[in-house]
Amino acid sequence: MANALIHAPKTAKRGEVIEIKALILHPMETGFRPGTNGRIIPRNIIERFSADWNGEEVFALKMSPAIAANPFVSFFVVADRSGTVKFRWSGDNDFLVEEQVAIAVE
């Protein structure tokens, strides 16, 4: 089960700068660590995180093995129109999680 937590304001004033925070459950295995049997544990990370506001990409992030497990991302956007923000995390082993929130702009 995908397990993500998103915090964004439900309403905003037009032109307001809002903070959006997204947290997701993921081991972010680096691919450099040996397991208990001495063999390298295969890499398993999220490679890309993106946020689309009504289909337009407003934030994207490329992740690397140095990022800790359960990555927490926080970013700011200018709220200029009402709509849905779609979040997408994609990575190794066909990892794909999509979540969305609605933000009403007055």
């Binding site: 397990n3 925070k21 947290l23 459950l25 972010m28 800790a68 359960n70």
Partner: protein
């Protein structure tokens, strides 16, 4: 004159309460963390423990076992307030003391007719986190039950007993040297106020048992098995020792 006397009495009470608060030398591990970690713990959108709480809420409402009952079918929403702050306690069903994880598993086997969840399994941690979160802000309140006294005494003996290749006891660090540094880290007083904790070193959520095992490995003691009664004794002693401190589960710890 009368007003002056009232003022003096009130001032006296105020000073006495201040002295009491300052006279308590106990510090929650929360107070020993830096402001960045404290902020991470306090912000529900940044505290990774909340991922487990969210999943635990789903598990709480999901039916399980041959009785086809969910936790929520017996327990009203929000009824778990303060529960995590008073365990370990005696269970009615078994007549034995149990910790919170044990209580959850008793509910599963006795009432849901489901299999007990394995120690440190994701499902058990999620349910524990969901229950423990409802005690956030409550004072630790071990039950006033004299049947627990022998267990607490056993826990205190274990706490003070030197063991392992380094010949250390829990008390050698957490009583005698708390507040000083071990390598770069502050030695905490080891009050179990925020379990299950999200420990940055683990990069996941873990129980008090896992934390105790960590310490034992550090002391070069062979850790007890997960179902050993020693954990319960230590936990009962530690909760009594932390009585009155504020529960902050799910805590973030370095």
């Amino acid at each position: 004159m009368r007003r002056l006397r009232t003022f003096l009495v009130l001032a006296g009470v105020f000073v006495a309460s201040l002295a009491l608060a300052q006279g308590d030398p106990r510090r929650s591990s929360y107070q020993d963390m830096g402001p960045a970690l404290q902020k991470m713990q306090d912000d529900d959108s940044a505290n990774p423990g909340m991922l487990f709480v969210q999943a635990g809420e789903e598990a709480w409402n999901a039916k399980a076992g041959s009785a086809d009952k969910a936790c929520a079918d017996c327990h009203a929403a929000g009824s778990m307030k303060g529960v995590a702050a008073r365990y370990p306690a005696f269970a009615k069903e078994s007549g034995k003391p149990v910790d919170l994880e044990g209580r959850i598993n008793l509910c599963r086997t006795e009432h849901q007719k489901a299999e007990a969840l394995a120690a440190e399994s994701k499902e058990l941690l999620q349910l524990t986190a969901y229950v423990a979160r409802q005690s956030k802000g409550e004072p630790i309140a071990p039950p006033d039950d004299e049947r627990l006294d022998p267990l607490r005494a056993q826990g205190e003996t274990l706490w003070k007993q030197r063991q392992g290749q380094l010949n250390l006891s829990c008390a050698s660090c957490h009583d005698a040297n708390a507040g000083k540094k071990l390598a770069g880290a502050t030695i905490p007083q080891a009050h179990p106020t925020g379990y299950p904790i999200y420990r940055l070193e683990w990069q996941t959520l873990g129980s008090l048992k896992r934390r105790l095992r960590n310490c034992m490995i550090g002391m070069r003691v062979e850790p007890y098995a997960y179902d050993a009664p020693e954990y319960l004794a230590l936990e009962a002693f530690l909760m009594k020792r932390a009585q009155g401190l504020i529960d902050d589960a799910p805590a973030v710890r370095p």
